[in-house]
Symmetry: C2
Subunit: 153 residues, 2 copies
């Protein structure tokens, strides 16, 4: 396979991006974004103060994967962390190194922006992803994650 081209999400490819997000929601057994959520996703990526960055892996005309990330902060290192929110390759494009390519693209961005780390989470049942991350050299941390949902805030 030729290496994909990482295309920053913009007005011109936003529909492709939303299709990929829908595809991930299906894979994770989650509800896909409704029309209002789509509009927020657009404003939050393309507006004046973007809340996240998104890139599509294009293989020729095909949208063969995507990543979204933003920068968190470690008060311990006193450096930003690249936090990978989504990394996804639709089923028919798997096994061609696209995930590895996208992870390595993000590692490059983390280095360029002087991050102290890169972090992400994985669902405990997602064994192919866990194998992939283990092979990437990442460490699994001994932290528990806690959440308060909107209605409990």
């Amino acid at each position: 396979m030729n290496a994909p081209v990482m295309e920053k999400v913009c007005a011109g490819n936003f529909t492709e991006f939303i299709s990929l997000i829908r595809n991930l929601a299906e894979f994770e057994h989650l509800v896909p974004p409704d029309a209002a959520a789509e509009e927020r996703l657009r404003a939050d990526a393309l507006g004046k103060n973007p809340r996240y960055e998104a890139y599509i892996a294009k293989c020729g005309e095909y949208a063969a994967g995507y990543v979204t990330f933003y920068f968190t902060y470690s008060t311990f290192l006193a450096r930003p962390t690249l936090y990978l929110e989504d990394i996804f390759v639709p089923e028919k494009f798997r096994g061609q190194g696209i995930g590895r390519y996208m992870l390595s693209f993000c590692r490059g961005i983390a280095r360029d922006r002087e991050c102290g780390r890169m972090e992400w989470m994985v669902l405990d049942w997602n064994e192919p992803a866990i194998r992939f991350y283990t092979k990437s050299g990442a460490k699994k941390l001994d932290w528990y994650v806690y959440r308060l949902d909107r209605e409990d805030l």
Copy 2:
């Protein structure tokens, strides 16, 4: 106890903030920030594009705790998440409800800024914190956390 006053970290109380960070590093058996890290912490909180927000819980003249947080993003909800990076009460101020007060302060900020969630992590050996978070109504998630350190990026 009177409720503490939550004081935003600024040039005037930055030294107090750094003392509290040193106190947390000690508690977590971590290396405290060196002079260069202190300068980055200052620029990243007080500069033009702050990377995190920090508040000190003042009980009269005493700095009785602190929180740091920033906003991540859920592509699933298409809303920001308040991510609590640090919440800490030095040992001599514990048992007076200061942690609960600071958590509730953060919940208020998450509501005001229209967050879809609030999230944080806890070290798996920190049982008092785990008990505190369980009582707060937060859910423990079935996610594993992965990290690439700077030298592995």
